[in-house]
Structures are given as C-alpha cells and as structure tokens.
C-alpha cells in the first residue's frame, strides 16, 4: 500500500500532514530559500506546489504539505515566517478549504480490457488525454483522497509513468 492510501484511511484527528498556503514574493531564489529552510531544520516536505498568483508580477503561492511528525506546526510556521520573502502563511484547515490535486498516468492496457479501463476511468471522472498503441494517458484533477483511490485502481494495470502535482488549496468561500 502506498503511504497516501494509508493516510486515506486514517481518521481526521490522526492527520499526518499539515497543509500550509504560503504567499511569497515572486523573486529569484525564493523556492530554494523555502526548500532550504525545510531541509536544514529537518521539517519533511510531503509535497510542494508553486505557481504565480493573480498578482503574478509580485507574488507566488506555495502550497506545502508537511509531515506533522517532523516538527510542531507552530515551529514550522514561525521559522518560515522569518524568511524575508515570505509574506503570509495560512494553515489550511481541511474542513474550511477546497483542496485539489492533479494526476497524470500512462498505463498499458491489453486491447481486450481497454473498454473496461476507459469506463472505470470515467467512473472517477478521469479523462483520457492521450492514447497510443496499447497505452493510454489518463488525467484526474480532484480531491487528494479521490486521487489516492484512483491511483490504487490504476495499480491493477501496468503503470508506465505516474505523476502527481501535489496539493493546491484555497479557503472555502462563505455562503449565506
């Protein structure tokens, strides 16, 4: 079983990961400063996704999933906050957040099973984005839990390449 699958089955209070959404200045070397801080303080990064924000000229957003066992959350946040290029850190509470991740995988499927495979993908709302001889590339953008389940399903096939983007997240909007 993959570590993700284990996590999937844990009750929420035993969450092994914290999700931090970090607004940083869009300057050369910022990513290496953040990554360097995590490695020298012994905080383990589980996944990290970085992209420009709407104010892409000035700021980028890094979504970091950290191993909760490696250090107290408060220590991670306070050390991160000392980086001069870090503008804002929010700890993403999983109940008040929209989380998405994207998975791309190329799988080899015997011709006689192709139709089943494609319909299984459709059940997950995954898309076939490329096709070759006896091989398809599928894509799923969804909640990481769904991605985990989908990845497990794929493991029944010969997975040639699999790539996950890591989590991105935004706070849930207030509805009234």
């Amino acid at each position: 079983m993959t570590p993700e699958a284990v996590d999937h089955e844990l009750p929420a209070e035993e969450k092994r990961h914290h999700v931090l959404s970090v607004l940083v200045e869009n300057k050369a070397g910022v990513l290496s400063r953040v990554a360097g801080l995590f490695s020298r303080r012994g905080f383990n990064i589980f996944s990290l996704a970085v992209a420009p924000t709407d104010d892409s000229h000035r700021f980028s957003r890094i979504t970091i999933v950290v191993d909760a066992a490696s250090a107290p959350l408060e220590q991670i946040v306070n050390q991160l906050d000392k980086l001069i290029n870090v503008v804002e850190i929010s700890h993403v509470n999983e109940h008040q957040v929209v989380e998405r991740e994207l998975l791309l995988a190329s799988i080899t499927v015997p011709t006689d099973q192709m139709a089943t495979a494609i319909s299984l993908c459709a059940n997950f709302d995954a898309e076939v984005v490329d096709a070759g001889a006896g091989e398809i590339t599928v894509m799923l953008a969804d909640h990481p839990d769904k991605i985990n389940a989908f990845q497990e399903l794929l493991s029944g096939y010969t997975v040639d390449q699999l790539h996950r983007t890591g989590l991105v997240a935004l706070p849930k909007l207030i509805t009234q």
Binding site: A28, G29, S32, R33, P72, I84, V87
Partner: protein, 572 residues
C-alpha cells in the same frame, strides 16, 4: 544625476552611517574599490577575508552599530562564510558586500564564480543578488534595515561586476518608504498586560531567577535590567553571550550558567521555581540534558524572535518583544509593586556560593603559570572599561569566568558557533569601533595560529590591540575531553610551546613580542603591554597544560551532575 553602480553603492553605505569597511579587493569587486578612494569611509585592508568578517563582528559587538565588510567573488566570498555563520548564530548585525561575476557570466562557471547567495542563504538573515544598478540604494537601505531590526543578524549583498560598472540614476538615498519588504515585519511594541502578568508571576515565585542572554545587550537594556533586578531582589545569571549585561561585582549576580558556568548559577536554575528568560534561547550549552534542565521551574520567555518561543522549552508565559522595550517595561511595572521576601532563597544561594566558589590549584612544583591566574592579573591591571575579546576553548571559559565584567559591550566572543580564531580579528574590530578603550584579546595558542596574520593589518593600520596567548601547547579544550572521557588517549591535540616562536612571529608582524614563563613576571609583562600604545603587543604566557576548566557539566548529563573542582569534591 548619472553615476556608476559602484558609486551608488559607496554613497548608499555612507548614507547608512558606515564609517569603516573591513575588506580585501579582487577582480569582481574592483569597480567598487575605485570610489572608496574618494569616500569618507575608512577602509581597513585585511590579510584574509575571514579576518574582515570577524573584525566587522567585533566592531558591531563593541559599538552596537552594524559591521561592514567587503570581499571579491568566489574565494573572497567563501572566505567570509565562517564569519557570516558565526554572526548568524550570535545575532550580530553585519552587512557584507561581495563582488560577483558579470550578469551574463553567472551560471557559466566563470573565473571566480561562486553562488554565494545560495551558499549563505542558511547563514544570513537575508541576502540579495543585485541585478540592476538602479536597485542599489534601495537594497543597501533594506540590508541595513534587516540586519539591525527585530532579531539582528548578518546580511549579504552580492554585486555583479557589470552592475557596479553600469550607469544608474541617483535620486538620493533610499528612504524608509522606498523599502520593498512586504514580508518583513520585525516585532515592535510591548503588551503591557503580559508584562503585568510576568511581574505577578515573579512576585508569586519563591525561587525566581533572571536568566539573561545576549538579547539584553542587543537591546541596550542593561540599565533597565539592573533596575528590575534591584527592585525585586531577584538573582541574575548571565549567559556567555550576555557577560557584561549585569555587573559581575553586583551582589545579586550569580555568574554564568551552563557547561562551564558558576556552580551557584547552575544550581540556581536547577532549583528555580520560576525562570525569567530575557533574550536567551535555552542553548544546549546552557541547558545540558534538556529533560533535567530547571526541572521544577515555570518559564517566562522574553524574545524578539517568535520562533524561539517553545523551540526548546515551552514557556508558561511568552513575551514576544524586543528587550529594548520589554525590559524597561518590566522595570517600570516592578517599580510600583512590593517585592516579595526572597530571604530563604538567598540563604540557599549564599550557601552554594560559600561551598563552591570558582577554584583552581596553586602553582605546582613544575612552576608553570596557571591560566586562571593570568586572566585574574590581566583583569586586575586593566584600565577601566577595557574590552576583552576571546578565541574558543579553555582560555575562553577562563576569560569568561575570571574576568569581572562590569559594563555592556566589553566582552567580544564567539558563542553559538564557537569559532576558533575569533579573538585577534574581533579585537581589532572592537578597537576600531572603540579607539578610546584598551582592547585585550585573550587567546589560545591553537586559535592564535588560525588568524594571527591580522596583526599585520593591526600594525599597518595603527590599531594597537594587545594579545595574551594562554599557551598550553595544546588544543586544550579537546585535550580536556580526551583526558576526561577518552581515557587520556590524546589524539591530535599536541601543538608545541615553541613552534611557532610566538615572540619572533609577533615581531615579524611589527608587534612587540613578550614571553612569560615565570609567575613572578606576569604582572610586569602586563603592565609593560598596557603602557604600549603605538603598536600591537603579544604576550606568550607559558601555561600549565594540565589545567582543566571547572565546573563542568559533561556532555549529555543534566546540570545536576555538574563536576566541581576536584578540591571541592571531598566535602560536597
């Protein structure tokens, strides 16, 4: 006005109040050295860039103003990595300017190229690679701002050669409004409610201790500390980084805690029911084995750096504030309360003091000098206000133990990093910053050999420091550990008392060299050194290599397991 980037850089340094740069030129920084000729800033040409960095540190520690150093790219920059790491550990404000290869050459393994912003990102508070000469005034202002505010620290500005050469538009110096630091919010202000809570906790405590760290010196809060301590009658301990923050002769001062601290300071912490940490960070050299440290104490933690709160020991009350504001606030709040009766606590502490004062053996049959006695004599004969710098090792601990520090910024030392070779260059920097003061470096023979070449700089630049080498012919601190914990298996610690010949070496560097073997000559040699003010002096004190530093908390042990001097063990 159109000027070069190099001119803009020097003008910006002038605007920041820089009066001295410690440095050494080379290819990539050449353009910046040209306008130095026309500048009011004094440049001190070092013999090794490590010296420049430690001089800048000594200057900063002695004056409270940021030290400035300048180096070329590649090896020049990597030579100053150790001082940056040292300053980072001790939160010393430093601005280092390094040359870099031209922008187009970056990333091509060009001659003397080194990714110094990458190398130093973990040992600077921040660093900048300048890509446009027009940014220079703003970046220099940002660099000084970051280095000196909040928790101070070293910063580095990396300037590609072609940026220094290119023309820029000088619109005057950058102002506060020009700073572009959206993610930098140094701690400001004090929460008076928390201050009141702290005072209430101190009044409730039966056995409180003020555990004072370098933050009190950084925040220039010594006078407020004294008012606070005297008002409440609470005992004070000062860490290695805080020596001088509270007078050693003050009856409420118990001395230094930690691995080689004063017995009473160590025990006060172990027995305390309230530890008030003021600008200290629960360093492992102070705590010993953590789960046995101050086992019954509640903790009040004052620190400007939020990340220090709970990093090592969870506080019962956090004061996130600068000591410069919070210690005066504490003193002010204390002024209007009735101090509690701490007589029982003081009786206990006086008992420890009587039983375990600092101690060393009298001179043995071999007639060799006792290093502790040398430090005591240096101290006794020192003019008031003398600044003491030290290397790292046994001599450092003896300097801290046996010198009586009475004033802030008179102790220049490498605490967090423990950098051998710190004494000579940092003493030079301190003397440059405080030319009115006598500056003694108390150095080890091992340390001296690492950076002694800067005495050439001192002589050439007219910086008359004094160096006392406690020459035990050993890497003494390592020898002590091998004696005590490795069954006297001495591995690679012997140096030799005579190789090098320290007197000849000192003289070759333009200094006065004196050698002292006989205890009867210690005082006269020191007096002679004190009377020389036109050049540096080096005294080679031949000391007893068998002397060990006590008290000692062995590595991995709790503070309760402190080893006192053997002469005190029988009746303990």
């Amino acid at each position: 006005m159109e000027i070069t980037g190099a001119q803009a850089l020097i003008k910006s340094l002038e605007e920041q109040g820089t009066d001295v740069i410690f440095g050494l030129p080379g290819g990539a920084i050449l353009p910046v050295y040209d306008p130095i000729l026309d500048s009011s800033i004094r440049h001190i040409l070092v013999r090794h860039e490590q010296g420049a960095g430690h001089m800048a540190e000594g200057y900063a520690l002695a004056t409270g103003r940021p030290g400035v150093a300048m180096v070329t790219s590649g090896p020049g920059a990597t030579n100053i990595v150790t001082p940056l790491a040292n300053a980072y550990m001790d939160s010393t404000p430093l601005v280092v300017v390094s040359g870099q290869v031209s922008r187009a050459a970056i990333g091509t393994d060009a001659f003397q190229e080194c990714d110094i912003t990458g190398v130093t990102s973990g040992i600077t508070k921040h660093n900048w690679l300048v890509t446009d000469a027009n940014d220079l005034p703003r970046i220099v202002a940002e660099a000084f701002h970051v280095a000196t505010t909040g928790r101070p620290g070293p910063v580095l500005i990396d300037v590609p050669k072609d940026v220094a050469q290119s023309m820029m538009t000088w619109n005057g110096p950058a102002t506060e409004a020009d700073l572009d630091l959206p993610g930098y919010r140094p701690t400001k202000g004090v929460d008076h409610e928390v201050i009141a809570q702290a005072i209430a906790m101190i009044l409730e405590a039966k056995r409180p201790v003020l555990y004072v760290g370098g933050g009190v010196l950084q925040g220039n809060a010594s006078a407020a500390l004294r008012a606070l301590a005297e008002r409440l009658g609470v005992p004070v301990v000062t860490t290695l980084m805080a020596r001088g923050a509270f007078p050693d002769t003050h009856p409420q001062h118990l001395g230094m805690p930690g691995m080689h601290g004063h017995y009473t300071a160590i025990m006060a912490i172990q027995r305390a029911d309230l530890l008030v940490s003021l600008g200290a960070r629960f360093d492992d050299r102070v705590t010993g084995k953590l789960d046995g440290f101050a086992p019954v104490a509640k903790i009040i933690h004052l620190d400007v750096d939020r990340a220090e709160h709970g990093k090592v020991r969870r506080p019962d009350l956090s004061i996130v504030a600068n000591a410069s504001e919070a210690v005066p606030a504490l003193a002010e709040a204390a002024a209007s309360v009735t101090p509690s009766d701490l007589r029982a606590w003081w009786d206990e502490l006086h008992g420890y003091q009587a039983k375990h004062p600092l101690a060393y053996d009298p001179i043995d049959g071999n007639g060799l000098l006792k290093p502790q006695m040398v430090v005591e004599t240096l101290n006794a004969l020192a003019p008031a206000g003398t600044i003491v710098a030290s290397g790292v090792g046994q001599h450092q601990m003896w300097a801290s133990q046996y010198w009586q520090f009475e004033e802030p910024r008179t102790w220049i030392n490498s605490g967090g990093a423990g950098t051998m070779g710190f004494a000579v260059p940092s003493a030079i920097g301190a003397k440059v910053g405080r030319p009115d003061r006598t500056v003694w470096a108390i150095d080890g023979d091992g340390c001296f050999q690492m950076t002694a070449q800067e005495l050439v700089t001192a002589r050439a630049e007219g910086i008359p420091i004094k160096v006392a080498i406690l020459n035990n012919a050993y890497l003494g601190m390592v020898r002590q550990w091998q004696e005590m914990f490795y069954e006297e298996r001495y591995s690679e610690v012997y140096l030799s008392p005579d190789l090098p010949n320290y007197v000849q070496w000192a003289e070759a560097m333009g200094c006065v060299g004196i050698r002292v073997d006989d205890p009867a000559d210690v005082a006269s040699a020191i007096e002679r050194a004190n009377s020389i003010d036109d050049r540096p002096v080096v005294i080679d004190f031949r000391t007893d290599a068998s002397e060990k530093v006590f008290p000692m908390v062995p590595a991995g042990a709790t503070n309760d397991e402190v080893l006192v001097h053997p002469s005190q063990r029988l009746h303990s």
